[in-house]
């Protein structure tokens, strides 16, 4: 039985896995109660964390709710685990503002 991952908006390139995912497991995408594609996880994904469902190039916006939740800091393939290691916030970045000043 595949793990369910919830997609919120059809533009989204991430989905939220409702249980823990192990590398190689099949993930069933669901949006508004309807089943979508099945994708294969290429990495372990912790409980309720996100899986990439459409490939992202470095610098591209990562979309959830149909809106940007940050920018990819490296290329991400569908099936990859998405979190702070490959998506960065574009807001409240005092570190970047300070670096720019220097």
């Amino acid at each position: 039985m595949p793990v369910i991952a919830m997609v919120i908006d059809k533009a989204d390139n991430v989905a939220t896995c409702l249980s823990q995912v192990k590398r190689g497991m099949k993930v069933q995408l669901m949006r508004e109660g309807r089943k979508g594609r099945i994708i294969q996880a290429s990495q372990d994904i912790p409980y309720i964390h996100k899986i990439c469902i459409k490939p992202l190039r470095k610098g591209q916006h990562c979309l959830k709710y149909g809106l940007s939740i940050g920018v990819a800091s490296k290329d991400i393939r569908a099936g990859d685990y998405i979190h702070v290691h490959n998506v960065e916030s574009a807001r409240g970045r005092g570190d970047l503002a300070t670096a720019k000043k220097k």
């Binding site: 409980y47 990562c62 809106l67 940050g70 998506v87 574009a90 807001r91 409240g92 570190d95 503002a97």
Partner: protein, 408 residues
């Protein structure tokens, strides 16, 4: 699995639920407000009056102390903020009577000034000063005696049936995770819509958690000027963060947010604003300011700090608050009943002791309106007198006054 679970869940759900209750039971106040509780409030003007307030409140039944570390050596705008917060709590309809106690005179935030501002509403209020009153023990005795007389009057008041129009529902979230935007915040949004549809008011806050969702909120505003105010309010918050020269991550989203799968503040925000539902935004107000009477969603400029945010909302006049949480929470405002709801199955189990409403079945296919209705019914019940779990065990942890400047 999902289909079977969905079927099971739907079988449990009655096909036709009666329409949401349009009335609740509350204590009518002189100024037209209605209280969900009938507390005698023992309000501390400054930290050096805290123990006296606590002694008085311990002696009396039906009395709660509100204490804090501020009220002295604050820069003027912060002192004003403390003053407004204390007055706001005195004015909150959940307080039937108020005794304000301070220590020395702190110009701009004396017990007298606070009591004077509260008295304008027609509420019973008395002010006492520890130095002028003959010391800590003398003032404890005086305040206890005054409080006893007040309680004799207060406890004669009875709840009456009032329309939902008289409800100001506070909205806040905490220890958010990826289940927040999918389940409990959605259910909260449904409740917001139900309350506003019946002519009531709701209050959204937490400016930090609007970062990335400003456009969505601005589009809900009844006037473009309000939308501009939201954009400005979030920009100012972001500028304050940038001025600190650090990466916001780690503070927002917090460590527990990231553990819960939230990657960025934008993701957290877009989940957080689901609490707003589809209701129109009718006003945008600063921290701790009293909300206007217009039905709809009021937005308050508060930080993401849960205790400070809900303290601002309580000063704004909310009688009940939904605290929507992914990780589960113990947060509870002493004066404003705080209903904790979660849709995260693990948290529902781990934080069962202080979780009032569970909506985990959303992930088994139960529709949001069904979960929302469950939460709405709890709001009406709690507003009408049902104790929340945290109230039962005096989990009074969330009175925290926001400050911007240093102690001086």
């Amino acid at each position: 699995m999902a289909r079977a679970a969905r079927k099971r869940a739907l079988r449990r759900t009655p096909r036709r639920t009666p329409p949401p209750r349009r009335a609740w039971w509350g204590y009518p106040r002189e100024n037209g407000d209605v209280g969900a509780r009938n507390w005698l409030l023992i309000l501390s003007g400054t930290l050096y009056a805290n123990p006296t307030c606590e002694r008085v409140a311990r002696t009396l039944r039906h009395a709660i102390p509100l204490t804090h570390p501020l009220g002295r050596c604050q820069i003027a705008p912060d002192l004003q903020r403390t003053f407004e917060t204390l007055v706001g709590h005195g004015l909150n309809a959940n307080a039937a009577g108020v005794i304000v106690i301070d220590h020395h005179r702190e110009e701009g935030c004396t017990a007298e000034d606070i009591a004077h501002a509260i008295a304008k509403s027609g509420k019973r209020v008395e002010a006492l000063n520890i130095r002028e009153g003959g010391g800590a023990i003398e003032v404890t005795a005086k305040a206890t005696r005054i409080g006893m007389e007040m309680l004799r009057a207060i406890t004669q008041e009875r709840r009456v049936e009032v329309p939902v129009r008289k409800l100001l529902l506070g909205l806040n979230c905490g220890t958010s995770d990826t289940t927040s935007g999918l389940s409990h915040n959605k259910a909260t949004g449904w409740v917001t819509d139900a309350v506003v549809r019946l002519g009531g008011r709701a209050m959204l806050a937490e400016t930090t958690e609007m970062m990335g969702g400003e456009g969505v909120l601005a589009a809900k505003c009844v006037r473009p000027a309000l939308g501009k105010r939201i954009w400005r309010m979030v920009r100012e918050m972001e500028e304050r963060i940038l001025a600190c020269g650090v990466d916001l991550r780690g503070s927002q989203p917090t460590g527990d947010n990231m553990e819960g799968g939230l990657t960025t503040i934008e993701e957290k925000s877009l989940g957080a604003i689901q609490k707003a539902g589809t209701a129109p935004i009718v006003d945008v107000i600063p921290w701790a300011k009293r909300a206007g009477r217009k039905s709809g969603l009021h937005v308050m400029d508060t930080p993401g700090h849960g205790g400070e945010s809900i303290t601002g909302i309580c000063a704004g006049g909310a009688q009940v608050l939904i605290f929507s949480t992914g990780g589960g929470h113990t947060i509870n405002h002493p004066l404003m009943p705080t209903i904790r709801v979660t849709g995260n199955p693990l948290s529902a189990k781990l934080q069962h002791d202080t979780t009032d409403v569970i909506v985990t079945d959303v992930f088994e296919g139960v529709p949001i309106p069904v979960a929302g209705r469950r939460l709405y019914d709890e709001v009406i019940a709690v507003a009408s007198g049902r104790l929340t779990k945290a109230e039962c065990i005096h989990e009074d942890n969330a009175f925290a006054i926001n400050r911007a400047g240093p102690s001086v």
